[in-house]
Symmetry: D2
Subunit: 140 residues, 4 copies
């Protein structure tokens, strides 16, 4: 597996967990989203700046999928890795892996588009300008 | 105690609760906020419309307080009551009571202001226009 | 499409939305989960009672997928429909459709298992007892 | 002001913010709670271990208060400081300060108790054993 394009640590806390004592699953998606936005922050000054520069409304979700491989508990330190998996003309596929040490906890995929307003309607814009703004002109 | 100005029901669910099996406390504030916004929706077409009409950035929090009187669990149906407690020149105090049947669960107070942009700075605006937009010109 | 096995209404509020003004996507999964738990509440007295009766730790997630078809905003009333799609020996597939009037907002699938502790380890248990407890002995 | 007893950093992200572009206020309480639990993790092996050692159900909230002093936005890095403010016989008062550089964002107070089950009822237990478990036998 290629090296991650970005990673962050998530200290699993009491409030992330449900009465079964394990992470309440929607939290994983909050962390996926935060990981992507932290990547944008580091790579290109953040989502707000990118949207302003690229005249976009947002870099949002079209589709998401996750598998829950093992539970995470209060006190666990999870490493969340982000990989840019594939650029389409109007889509970006992101791969996420959450692990506690070597144990895989969650694996997921986000499909994102860049939404622009044109002729009074929202449309999926071309990804080439985003890719350039991230300094990724060569194939990923 | 006066009749509530607005109330809503919250069906307490598994995902609202923590490993101790009771509601994770920040959720109560999500419900306070939702109750206030639902009140605005019903009374005056919602927060977005009000902000547009009153040229405001938002009707936001300055201060909040809550007491947790008894626990709420998965499966409980909580009634959340909102009372407009006091209008100041630039503030509105809201009182919240969450109860399960007659049992009091949470009691709280939000102090809100209406934020407007003037001379390039954010300021707390006068409350009189909001009060009028809510159809409350007489003392509450 | 078959009639839903359960449905609930979600009043989209200010606090569910992000700086782009649309629902922050992890919230949809909180609503999927709440919809399933509300269904359990209505059909069989709730998750806690079911786990006690069936000697299970929880009826949790193995896999989830969602497509975001159109945005939902503050003030929208979303109807969320749950359909029991398929029972496997050790899995239950749930289909979700969120719509605002006739406009589809989100479509998703949860794959759930019933986790039991046996010989000191967590395992996916047989689904037949859950299906019977829900009063669904015939094919869905 | 005394040095903090614990502090953590919160990278403010897109998903923490509301349509006004600033942090949705209930998130501050999620961070207060996480800060307290991270402090317990560091000082005494975490909430779960403490509850087991002290035969308690949880170290939970009785009362909370916060003032919102200035807004936090996507991209801001907030430092959240925790101070143990006062031990009562059956209460612990915690003081929180969130700041971005020198700018104060939020200031809050949690009043917590340690809940124990005795004679079939939940009661607030003595704080002395918790204080000792945290290695704080002298007055704070």
């Amino acid at each position: 597996m290629q090296a991650p394009d970005f990673s962050m640590e998530v200290q699993i806390s009491f409030g992330h967990c449900d009465p079964a004592g394990i992470v309440f699953y929607p939290n994983y998606f909050r962390w996926f989203d935060r990981c992507f936005h932290s990547f944008l922050q580091k790579a290109a000054g953040g989502h707000r700046k990118l949207c302003r520069d690229l005249d976009a409304q947002g870099i949002g979700l079209m589709d998401v999928h996750a598998k829950f491989l093992s539970p995470a508990l209060d006190g666990d330190l999870m490493t969340l890795e982000l990989r840019l998996q594939e650029w389409g003309d109007k889509t970006l596929t992101l791969d996420y892996l959450g692990r506690i040490g070597d144990r895989h906890v969650v694996r997921g995929t986000e499909l994102r588009g860049m939404f622009i307003r044109r002729d009074g309607r929202m449309r999926a814009g071309e990804m080439a300008p985003l890719r350039a703004a991230l300094g990724l002109t060569a194939p990923v």
